[in-house]
């Protein structure tokens, strides 16, 4: 089962970043602020990058966007994935 197929029925969000440094900086900051995120391989449906992304519950989307902005951590795209279909939401 790939990342997009997990937790069927519940939308998941994936944030991609310019570099692995940014991913790790974001993960560190978000976990320290109590925002649950999980580091996963970038699903091929979202990006051709060979790296990693942060997966999180879409209910946390606004909070995560705000925490990243406050920390000045640049991200590439946030995708919302529902029933196997992805669409960019930020």
């Amino acid at each position: 089962m790939n990342a997009l197929g997990r937790r069927d029925g519940k939308p998941r969000c994936f944030a991609t970043f310019p570099s692995v440094h940014h991913v790790l900086a974001a993960e560190e900051r978000l976990l320290n602020r109590g925002a649950p995120v999980r580091l996963v391989q970038v699903p091929r449906q979202l990006s051709s990058d060979c790296g990693t992304a942060l997966e999180f519950d879409c209910d946390s989307l606004e909070r995560i966007r705000s925490l990243l902005a406050r920390a000045k951590i640049e991200y590439a795209v946030i995708h919302r994935v529902e029933s196997g279909t992805a669409r960019p939401v930020g």
Binding site: P18, S19, V20, D49
Partner: protein, 387 residues
């Protein structure tokens, strides 16, 4: 290396390293091993965490607000070459000091020989003191860059960087610092010192392995990629990424080395730069006092520098420095460094060119008992010479 030997050549590279450094490198090589950030599998992510940890630890040590602006290179010399080459343009004027290592002088002299830049040298005393007004007079309308060593690898003097930064910025010039000897030993704050590019060595006071070093970029300084290739990011694009740190780090990094560097910097942060400096200075002061009582020993320089890192140079009248170093090693197992220390300019400033001097240098891990046998060995040699 024979553990019974006394290693007093830490300004060249520190030895031993903290145990945590050996363990981190061993652990990475045996248990992780993957290429950082190139894949999404666990060990690749773990390797990326190692590099991330090294970068953020350096950022904490040197107070770099944005850790993406810490870039790893082969060593401090590599970092200095990049900075000096990229921040100068044809027709520029560059100022440096009379205490520089060849890691600064050789790239500058090369750029000068090609007609790209002109150079003036700010006279700085062996103690690290310079005349601010005289330095100010050397600035020209086209002075583009000022580069200075933070701590001399010959005299140990710590230069007043704040004053130089102020002069450089008032003239609209970049300020580049060679922190090879000061990193981990003297507090270095990128922002407070007003440094545009700070070049550091990973294998000296930061206790990493050889083959590690880098540069920290201040706000507003942008360098171009000097190598381009795989970064693990934007893999679908054939154009090299423009964002840091990937722009300046193509190809697989020295991850085992960075694992060791991260552990070394953590050691420095946990023990404290001030405590390490106190330890080093206690040893150097003991050596200075001992040597100053030996007839025939000339300290280089004779007068103590204003600020100092853990090294001390000297000569023994009538004996070439290489002979002194050989005798110390062969008879007593004491390892020092004779010669010009890749710093002919600094030795000219000290009046010890071309003969050079013997240098001892300690680290935060040099045993406190190392100094007495060293002083006794020099005293015995001096007695022998006088006979």
């Amino acid at each position: 290396m024979n553990a019974s030997r006394s290693y007093l050549d830490n300004a060249a590279t520190t030895w031993p390293k903290p145990e945590s450094v050996y363990r981190a490198m061993d652990r990475f090589s045996r248990e992780v091993g993957a290429n950082p950030g190139r894949s999404g599998h666990g060990p690749s992510v773990e390797a990326a965490r190692v590099v991330y940890h090294a970068r953020t630890a350096i950022a904490r040590l040197f107070s770099v607000p944005d850790s993406t602006r810490v870039v790893f290179t082969l060593n401090c010399t590599h970092a200095l070459n990049v900075a000096l080459t990229q921040l100068t343009r044809p027709g520029d004027h560059v100022l440096t000091t009379s205490l520089e290592h060849n890691s600064v002088m050789r790239p500058l002299r090369h750029l000068e020989s090609t007609g790209r830049i002109e150079i003036d040298v700010i006279p700085v005393s062996p103690q690290g003191v310079f005349d601010l007004t005289a330095a100010e007079r050397l600035f020209r309308h086209n002075t583009r860059l000022v580069v200075a060593v933070h701590a001399s690898n010959v005299t140990g003097a710590v230069l007043p960087l704040g004053e130089l930064a102020t002069l450089a910025h008032a003239a609209g010039a970049w300020f580049v610092v060679d922190a090879a000897q000061s990193g981990g030993t003297v507090p270095v704050d990128l922002t407070v010192l007003g440094v545009d590019v700070l070049c550091f060595s990973g294998h000296k006071g930061l206790f990493g392995p050889q083959g590690t070093g880098g540069l920290c970029l201040g706000d507003g300084v942008e360098l171009e990629a000097w190598v381009r290739g795989g970064t693990g990011s934007r893999s679908g694009e054939q154009v090299h990424p423009s964002f840091l740190p990937d722009r300046l780090e193509a190809g697989t990094p020295n991850t085992p080395g960075l694992a060791g560097l991260a552990a070394g910097v953590e050691y420095v942060l946990n023990r404290g730069v001030s405590e390490i400096h106190r330890h080093e200075m206690a040893l150097v002061e003991r050596a200075r006092e001992g040597l100053s009582r030996i007839e025939g020993v000339q300290l280089v320089p004779a007068e103590r520098p204003n600020g100092q890192v853990g090294l001390l140079s000297f000569n023994l009248t009538g004996v070439p420095c290489s002979e002194v170093a050989r005798e110390l090693e062969e008879r007593h197992g004491i390892l020092t460094r004779p010669g010009l220390h890749c710093a002919p300019a600094a030795h000219q400033t000290c009046g010890t060119f071309p003969g050079g001097a013997v240098r001892i240098s300690v680290s935060g891990l040099t045993d406190e008992t190392a100094v007495r046998p060293f002083v006794a060995a020099v005293a015995a040699l001096a007695r022998e010479v006088r006979r």
